[in-house]
Symmetry: C2
Subunit: 359 residues, 2 copies
């Protein structure tokens, strides 16, 4: 399954400037031009089961090419009762985290012959709710939510209800990573990855940590913090309150947090763990601006292992999350019309690099 339209597959496209102007050619136009009925034209153009005499096939195809006909997808959707779109909701496109996921999703979607429509929720729960509401109107085959949404009980319930109504009507819903709602979920092991990371870092000889995290309501951030803390806990290591700083979940936030840490006084802190790579990179840059050499004066670790992690100096220690594959899985899950809500776990993997040298 895939491909877009069979019309283009059959005849070499003819170039002929449409004189008509204004209106797109409709199926009726094609039928008339070919001297057949609409039904026949439809049968030819959508590759229906029924056969049409070869002569008519040719005439319809020719007419369609001549008129530059493109089937009206909305009309098809209405007539067929189903569309071939999938909807993707992300928190932001600029963020490599989401664009990697989006890459996977679109790849899988196009392989399945689906068109993907994308919306950006900007980490606002209300916005996300509104988006889902609108998207539902398109009657997509699936809605994939990739947002690291802030957990607000009120809008969360509203969202759940909205999604439920959608699924009830035959759509499929896939959540990525952190939603604890009863839908298909691609679950990223944030807690486990962070915990492993903590262990590995202690193994390298680190003992005194600081942490850069996001808003408490952001589940992804929370899980990673908890995992990291618990990992340290295994060695009876704790992080003092003053070495935990909250910031925006992006590069700027990371920089701001690092400056704040410097202001408060690093006081022998050996390593800063930022809950995602973009923040970690922000931290490194801010440290350098403050005259500290990352990896040397103070180690830094992140989470996600986005592409740029290996472009910074020193290369960033992180936890690999196969984001592209997460997107692929999400789409597969969406397409498998499995009615029970399944959870596909995606494991994470610590990668130690130059930003956390052995002590």
């Amino acid at each position: 399954m895939c491909g877009m339209d069979d019309a283009s597959a059959a005849p070499p496209r003819r170039r002929q400037k449409t004189v008509s102007g204004e209106r797109q050619a409709t199926l009726r136009d094609v039928a008339r031009a070919a001297g057949v009925s609409q039904a026949t034209a439809s049968r030819v153009l959508n590759g229906s089961i029924r056969n049409v005499r070869q002569e008519n096939v040719d005439r319809v195809l020719a007419a369609a090419a001549e008129l530059d006909y493109t089937p009206h997808l909305s009309a098809q959707a209405i007539a067929r009762g189903s569309t071939n779109t999938a909807a993707l909701v992300v928190s932001g496109v600029d963020d490599p985290y989401f664009s990697s996921i989006a890459g996977g999703v679109t790849e899988a979607a196009e392989a399945a012959g689906l068109i993907v429509t994308m919306a950006v929720a900007d980490r606002s729960p209300e916005r996300e709710l509104q988006i889902v509401r609108t998207l539902r109107g398109m009657r997509p085959r699936a809605i994939i939510l990739a947002g690291s949404r802030i957990d607000d009980p009120g809008t969360r319930d509203a969202l759940a209800q909205e999604l439920d109504a959608y699924r009830e009507a035959g759509g499929s819903v896939v959540l990525i990573s952190q939603h604890d709602l009863p839908f298909h979920t691609v679950s990223i092991d944030n807690y486990g990855g962070a915990r492993q990371l903590a262990r590995a870092l202690v193994g390298l000889g680190y003992r005194r940590f600081a942490m850069v995290r996001a808003h408490v309501g952001l589940k992804t951030s929370r899980d990673r913090c908890d995992g990291f803390m618990d990992g340290l806990g295994e060695f009876n290591i704790d992080i003092e309150e003053r070495f935990v700083v909250k910031a925006e979940f992006n590069r700027r936030g990371g920089s701001a947090a690092a400056r704040e840490l410097v202001r408060r006084g690093l006081d022998g802190t050996e390593l800063v763990f930022a809950v995602n790579d973009v923040m970690a990179i922000g931290v490194m840059t801010a440290f350098r601006d403050a005259g500290l050499v990352p990896g040397q004066d103070v180690a830094v670790a992140g989470f996600d292992d986005i592409g740029p992690a290996v472009d910074v100096v020193p290369e960033l220690t992180s936890v690999t999350v196969p984001l592209r594959r997460v997107g692929l899985h999400a789409m597969e899950l969406a397409l498998s019309d499995d009615h029970a809500s399944r959870i596909v776990p995606v494991s994470t993997n610590v990668v130690l690099r130059g930003s956390t040298p052995r002590r």
Copy 2:
């Protein structure tokens, strides 16, 4: 390949009564539940000009909420004769260049109440053509092409014709950056920026250059090369053939090119100009892996000034392109129903950073 044949042939069955539950509520259902006619319900729900008695308004609204009604966008599109979607075609989502543009586009689109559907062409002209064809079927208000497409005369004409037919039918087309086709265009001054960059670098004392470029057919790359060459030409500086290497238009390509340069022998080359930042970053990393310190042993400059440019060490000298704004402009252009094809120039701006210290 994969014709859509499968997709359309797959569900021959008529409207399915979903095992689990009900259809989506339709306007008729709402009207019935509210005890009014469909017309009245429609008038209430889409905010028509005509007034409806308050009592009926309330009843319709209540019924709609009760039934979890969402208007069927396709049906609306058909009835109204116009949709509220905009289509965006990019070469790849992972690339920060495109995701920045996409960010601008979606921002502007959502501000205008449009839903954006995105497709990825993977730098394949045929794929792009096919995508445009499919997208046209959605009858979007606008199609924005942001791909740095490879210039292949054949498919380019086909694309032009396709776009022309679309515009003829009332849609608006916006090209970003490098298409020399008669449509609205947001034009990035690649040539001028590169030329300025060359001048600035010579000003810093550089005399011996190497260049990392993409496939000749990629206009963006070509323009930047030409600009850079001409800029050097002003000072009677030339680049030997063996110091110009072609590579893929991405990070991997940059690394590969750098390795190739090292293999050929740098021979006193002072600075490597890569035609975009992701390649430049790849170049820096590869140099470092080869034991060369970027900015010290050999300077590096890029183009685009994407976010990560300031996260690498040393910070990358580049040419700023306001990508997000490019996206915004594109959308504005798309929405302004100006029938003459306009060109909105976007200027670029050299930023010198640590990767090109004064010699």
